[in-house]
Symmetry: C2
Subunit: 323 residues, 2 copies
Amino acid sequence: MIPTISDVRAARERLAGGPHRTPLLRSRLLGEHAGGAAFLKPENLQRAGAFKFRGALHAIRTLADDERRRGVVTYSSGNHGQALALAAREEGVRAVVFMPEDAPAAKVAAARSYGADVRFAGTTSPERKAAAEALVDREGVVVVPPFDDPRIVAGQGTVGLELVEDLPDVDVVLVPVGGGGLAAGVTLALKASRPDVEIVAVEPTTADGLGRALAAGAPVEIPAPTTIADGLKPLQVGEIPFAILSEHRARAVTVTDEEILDAMRFLALRARLVVEPSGAAGVAALRAGKVPLEGRTAAVVLSGGNVDPALLARALGSEGFDG
Amino acid sequence: MIPTISDVRAARERLAGGPHRTPLLRSRLLGEHAGGAAFLKPENLQRAGAFKFRGALHAIRTLADDERRRGVVTYSSGNHGQALALAAREEGVRAVVFMPEDAPAAKVAAARSYGADVRFAGTTSPERKAAAEALVDREGVVVVPPFDDPRIVAGQGTVGLELVEDLPDVDVVLVPVGGGGLAAGVTLALKASRPDVEIVAVEPTTADGLGRALAAGAPVEIPAPTTIADGLKPLQVGEIPFAILSEHRARAVTVTDEEILDAMRFLALRARLVVEPSGAAGVAALRAGKVPLEGRTAAVVLSGGNVDPALLARALGSEGFDG
């Protein structure tokens, strides 16, 4: 089922009292740089540090009573896993998070700090997925996937509802794209009230799954990418997000790791926000001149702020930064 | 003249369309740590990176027409100088900022980027003040001091009006204190609607000008302090701020540089906010257990986010951080 704007609106009601309503922040410097006006939607300030909490909590709040009793499971070791753990704990639901046996200790500790029952299964994504499915067969828990799911897309779309409320005359929205859940949800929310808005989905040059999918007319698998933007590394954009993004003619642009580091530094020192590499992709595209605004008003979704301190320190020291 | 709540309310009207209305962000982790609920008022997201823009713009908007034509001058090389430069540029008023001859190039560049006419005078504060006063005598420009001024205190107080609007049941407010303009303005705003609110003014252990003044019953000069919190180093709390803070029985607590570094790291990694040392003093006090909440609701004013990247990187690497 492809979700619609009605599903996004229903998600917002269902999420009442859950996620933070993040503010909209103007960045005059970024706007001047790109030749228009620029605003930031800082989902790095969201609970658990990323927009993922919206979709995860939404999925849990749509569970039937018997499903709630059995619990949820996911196989994401990143922001989705942490968000699902936190959302489940708050709703009094059990959450199992499968992680690779070589997962960084910090990620394991973070998921546990949010109450997850962390289990380990192999080192690859298919191994984790198989372990999660075995648990589903055995105990009847419900899989909550990270992006290719109507409940998740609708939940992430609430970012767009808030955005267009705070900036009704927005012309361009830049949003990072990995699996596409956020980009698709935001597209639904924006296009409903601003049919002419341009959606620019930003992905790493080495992880251009959406760009290739739009060219091919269907999701295609890309080679395993190397990029610091670890949230944008799914090998394939989701079927549901792809359907929404292609229908609404989203445009895909790419950014390099160097451009992302520059954007992280700009955001830390000029917008005073800590943003993870994936979250800085939209600002990277604007700063690198890939989306000239020509007088238009842009909103940039900063998707998350869960960054390794050493990487943030590296971004702070990045060369060639001119402010 | 000691300003009152009416002056703060008038300042808010006069500031319409100027400063950002900063959000209020809940930090569950900080609240749990301190035994209550904790909210952050992030003035690091304010224009020019600090609450100072409020007072500076307010002072400029109260100028008479002939004063506007002559322009303003200040002798602060920090956030107040930058804020005054930006406010003056936006209002079409000339701003002269006197800086020490050994001012860091970054501070000079920042003030110039906001449009200031930067001039140099000696290396001490009295030398800069004398140079500013000579300009007043010669050209009739208006001095806008950093804190000991009713227009400045009233402008900074708008932080408190927003805070109590967003958190009407606040019990404790923690605010950094240097010259005291922000702490005094916030006190006026809070006490008007929450007479029982506790005001905790936080200062570095080496720069305890308010604590000493409260003990002595009058502002006293302290020895030149050594601290990373460069915004909290005035040698004496202002006469006007002191009158307000002592009347409303503000309490002064102190924090060490190590506690400030820990708070900066916590804010960067857990609240995803870049906060300068002075701005992190309130969080430092809560995290160091100096203000046990015992079930109460606290608001912490993060006063600014203009930090040297090397110092921020140092905070990110600070040891002993337990989350």
